[in-house]
Amino acid sequence: MINLVYQLIEPRAFSIKFEDIDVAGKVLVRPRCMAICHADQRYYQGRRDPAVLKRKLPMALIHECCGEVLADPTGTFKPGDRVALIPNVPPKGDLGEFYENYVKGARFLSSGHDGFMREIVAIEPRQLVPFSKVPFEVAAITEFISVAVHAVTRMTKVAHSTRDSFGVWGDGSLGYVVCAVLREFFPKARICVFGHHPEKMALFSFVDEAYDSDQIPADLRVDHAFECTGGNGCASALDTIVTHCNPQATVMLMGVSETPVPIRTRDVMEKGMTLIGCSRSGREDFQQAIAFLEHRVFQQRIRRIIHVDAPVRSIGDIIRVFATDTRTPFKTVFKWEM
């Protein structure tokens, strides 16, 4: 079958690749809704090292996607089943104690391999997680939520067992979903969010405390922290995290910085803190994300950060949604009708 793949060939320019897809052992999925990630936006705008762009492009963008099964020769799914697509492709076999999103040999669709901007995605059954009670426009950001699930789950495996309070640095989409996921895992914990945008923090209605990052009470302390700022905000976030964490806190690093970030190692050592790099997610995280999304209250919380743009039916529409995304405060989602 001839499939159409919409590749970014250079920043802000798309072209169509035609591929004759081999469907043996694959499920054929029609993408229905997609969401834009900062990583997609960085490729689109060319805000990556030119050598990286040269190596990775042309490439189809988008790794946050849900769709509908068209056909499944493997017999795992039925036509019409709704599925979230997992962009991480780990090597087959027992991975032992290693997470599938960090293991050697894993591939990630939309980083070095085509993402989901395709007419049809031929994909292995292990890369699909079914859902039923989640609208497509919400399920589009399952991957994004699964990243928060992975971070919180990993924290619980590493951190000491005192989990009375959590600090989340960053009032963007990532900070929001990390807070929402923390609330599900720890209904009674004290969750504090730190940010610079009162209008964004107003949406965090389910956290206990919200602070301007520059006006944090001197005696405020949290047991563990999540760094969700990324970019230029990383340095100051880490600085205040070190100040406001209790001894032996675990800090999950989730924001992407393109430049080196200084860390006050003296204080990190003095407090015996643990810093953990955390990115992407695996199948279990997707399953947990879907389980959360099927709860009405969680789904409503997630819906509040989703802007659904007009459907994408042409390459001009792809360019439009990337422009829209620069103006929306949280997540940009769109129907895929290419």
């Binding site: 001839i2 591929e19 897809i21 694959k26 492709v89 049809i120």
Partner: protein
């Protein structure tokens, strides 16, 4: 019911490949053009059955290709003998549909050239939506070249404004009863001239809705088209 009608009656005389009609040439990883086209229709769950109108000499060959490439879907496909021309092939398909499923005002037919394998799911879905609402639709793209009219082949008789010009593609889709009635009303002379089903609608004052096609929905008419198509496709890529 909604029926796909794949028109594969041609013998490919314009290709200079005398032995094989162009819809049976291998494309991409090696599947015949017609199979690539058919696979897109098979993925569309709104289409109940697909009829293929093949040249009488190629019916058994087509059937063998289906058994080789889409064995699990064989129940949804029927190969019948095409007519002497495009209109004849569509009429034969209409008759076969009515013989199998009876006549009904709720029957619709999505006709498509076997030699347009780059048709997208979006175009097929848009045809179904349009035909259900308007009873007749045609897939078109805006003309990019200036259209020059010459009635004697020697001098220009007209150059219409390009912004009103479109290039016709397929699918062309119709309510089955509507199309059957139009064909029944045609004289032999009309039938000799009117090879395009949408034109028949037009001259009978039946409005035909436009569906936006795609420049990549190429028709493999010449050997050049076929070679360009081969060059466009990367084989074997998937996850």
């Amino acid at each position: 019911m909604i029926f796909g009608a794949i028109l594969a009656g041609g013998t490919g005389t314009r290709m200079n490949i005398v032995d094989m009609p162009k819809q049976y040439l291998p494309l991409g990883g090696g599947k015949p053009v017609i199979i690539h086209t058919l696979e897109k229709f098979l993925l569309c769950s709104r289409i109940d059955m697909i009829y293929i109108g093949a040249h009488p000499d190629w019916v058994s060959y087509t059937q063998a290709q289906l058994e080789r490439y889409v064995p699990s879907q064989i129940e949804r496909i029927k190969v019948i003998e095409g007519g002497v021309d495009r209109t004849g092939t569509i009429i034969n398909i209409i008759e076969a549909i009515e013989a199998d499923h009876g006549s009904s005002p709720d029957h619709y037919i999505i006709t498509h050239d076997a030699v347009r394998p780059f048709v997208s799911l979006r175009i097929i879905q848009d045809n179904i939506d349009a035909v259900l609402e308007y009873k007749a639709c045609d897939t078109v793209i805006p003309a990019t070249d200036t259209i020059v009219v010459s009635t004697d082949g020697q001098v220009i008789s007209d150059i219409p404004q390009r912004r009103f010009m479109y290039q016709g593609q397929t699918p062309q889709s119709f309510q089955l009863d509507l199309l059957k009635g139009l064909y029944a009303s045609m004289s032999q002379e009309e039938r000799a001239i009117l090879t395009d089903a949408c034109k028949i609608c037009h001259i009978r004052d039946i409005p035909v809705h436009l569906v936006t096609g795609d420049v990549v929905n190429l028709k493999l008419t010449t050997l050049g088209d076929y070679k360009v198509s081969q060059a466009m496709i990367e084989s074997g890529a998937s996850d």
